[in-house]
């Protein structure tokens, strides 16, 4: 599903964001990517979306060889996965329905298909009744749910959420996380980059901890911070 082999990333300004990262995710997994800001989690997400290129190593996502991919292929990689961001990234002048439908319009989907899929995605995130509202009429949690519906409407095999709850209060954050978990139960592989300690600890999923560009821990049913609390190199 997702595999990184010996991936390093150095930015042009000399910042080393990732060093020799090896990571493998199987289909249907739910993985938390944790680590402090600047640890390299965002870079890792960017590599998966081919927003950045790896300096070294190989990246495979959904059967795409991301490393050797041409510019023209990038849109098709991105269509094969759903992405959710901290700042929602909804189109302000489109309604909830249109925002979700837009993800299908760009794939040149059939109108019939769009009319079928969009209500399903909205129902999944519990926003059927707000389909005709605009993003600025919604709460943060609702906006993030619209973003989720948009990410899911094309039925991607992989969902990547980069700090999905960063702008939300704890209660709403929980709702979003539960939703992500539910989506995972339906068979979608989910990667969540976060530093919400309480949520990670509670959910007991696989935790990949990154620090200073290195994977310092990869643990099934892990906690946000483990014994490496005592490791002076990392914290």
């Amino acid at each position: 599903m997702v595999e990184l082999r010996g991936v390093s990333k150095t930015y042009p300004n000399g910042t080393v964001a990732l060093r020799d990262v090896n990571l493998k995710l199987d289909k249907g997994e739910f993985v938390f990517l944790v680590g402090p800001s600047g640890s390299g989690k965002s870079t890792l997400v960017k590599l998966l979306l081919k927003e950045e290129d790896a300096t070294e190593g190989e990246v495979y996502v959904n059967g795409y060889d991301v490393t050797s991919m041409t510019r023209q292929e990038i849109p098709f990689l991105r269509r094969s996965l759903g992405v959710v961001f901290q700042d929602f990234r909804l189109l302000p002048n489109k309604t909830v329905y249109e925002n979700v439908a837009f993800a299908m319009i760009i794939t040149e989907a059939l109108p019939k298909e769009i009319r079928r899929q969009v209500p399903m995605a909205l129902a999944l995130v519990g926003l059927s009744r707000k389909a005709n509202m605009y993003p600025n009429q919604l709460s943060g949690g609702e906006q993030q749910r619209v973003a989720l519906a948009r990410a899911l409407v094309n039925n991607p095999a992989l969902l990547i959420a980069d700090e999905p709850t960063g702008n939300l209060d704890p209660e709403t954050s929980w709702e979003i996380m539960k939703l992500l978990s539910e989506i995972n139960h339906r068979g979608t592989t989910v990667i969540v980059a976060t530093h919400e300690k309480s949520i990670v600890d509670e959910m007991k999923k696989r935790v990949v901890s990154i620090s200073k560009g290195l994977i310092v821990r990869d643990q099934e049913k892990g906690l946000y911070r483990d014994e490496d609390k005592n490791n002076p190199i990392l914290f």
Partner: protein, 299 residues
């Protein structure tokens, strides 16, 4: 590309230009101005060519015999002219015809010819050449023929005007190019503003997997909408303006009577004007969009 996607591009293109009303309007006006300047040059150019071709149709050479020549001498001159294979056709104007023509030319002043007979006029030959370019040579040869007093030669004027129109076309092409380049950049600037206004949206589109061209096409459509609107306005204005001028001109007694200059009717020129406006508009609009996208739209 599917029809519904094309429809999407047009919808977005229109929405973009509407959202950016003021700049769009400014660009449309610049396009109108450039195209009208272009149209004026084209119309002048077309009319010059039209008149040149009329002048070329007119007798190119007229060989006048000495007026005291008798019939046999004249037919000897005629033989020479007939035998010259550079001459396409000729027409003999005898003394009587010459008098008639002079009367016609003088109109109401023809009375001054009263009392004179046709004898004072020379017999002449109106000659058309196969190829205008060797007219100088023919004139020289004809002047050597015994019995021919002089050869009048309207070709000088035609050549001068042809040369003038050549320089005119060159000069106006240069001006037109400058104007069109300005239009392209104004449109590019308008598109730039749209791109900036929609940067966020473009970013989102990229994240959810829109292809480069899916993002670009609406901007191309926007540029073309601007320039086509400009072209339509320019066409209406210049066609109407030309019609007014041409009508005035045809009613003007001086030009109407002398046949010196004639203007093409609007019916003869509108299609050429419309087609060239349309082509230029599409090219200018698309170029403006492409320049803007190359610089500002890193998709």
């Amino acid at each position: 590309m599917k029809i519904r996607t094309i429809r999407y591009y047009f919808k977005e293109g229109f929405a973009n230009s509407y959202r950016n009303k003021l700049m769009s309007l400014a660009s449309v006006l610049i396009v109108v101005a450039s195209l009208i300047v272009f149209g004026i040059f084209v119309l002048i150019s077309l009319n010059m060519q039209h008149n040149i071709s009329i002048w070329k149709e007119q007798p190119q050479l007229q060989a006048f015999c000495y007026e005291q020549l008798d019939g046999t001498q004249i037919s000897r001159v005629e033989d020479v002219i007939r035998g010259d294979d550079r001459i396409l056709s000729y027409e003999k104007v005898d003394k009587k015809q010459a008098l008639e023509r002079m009367r016609e030319k003088l109109g109401k002043d023809a009375a001054i010819l009263d009392g004179y007979g046709a004898d004072i006029f020379p017999v002449s030959f109106v000659i058309r050449l196969k190829d205008v370019s060797n007219s100088n040579e023919v004139v020289k040869d004809l002047e050597k023929v015994t019995g021919i007093e002089k050869v009048s030669y309207s070709q000088d004027t035609v050549e001068m005007i042809t040369r003038a129109s050549h320089w005119f076309s060159l000069g106006s092409s240069l001006m037109i190019i400058i104007f069109l380049v300005v239009s392209v950049f104004i449109i590019a600037n308008t598109i730039k503003l749209t791109v900036f206004a929609r940067r966020r949206e473009i970013g989102i589109m990229k994240y959810i997997g829109a292809t480069d061209w899916f993002i670009r096409w609406p901007f191309v459509v926007e540029g073309v909408i601007i320039s086509i609107t400009g072209a339509i306005l320019a066409f209406i204005l210049s066609a109407y303006g030309y019609k007014v001028v041409a009508d005035r001109f045809s009613q003007d007694t001086f030009f109407a009577s002398t046949n010196l200059l004639s203007l093409l009717n609007i019916e003869d020129v509108w299609l050429r004007l419309a087609v060239s406006y349309a082509i230029i508009a599409v090219v200018v609009g698309a170029m403006g969009s492409f320049i803007s996208m190359r610089r500002h739209l890193k998709v």
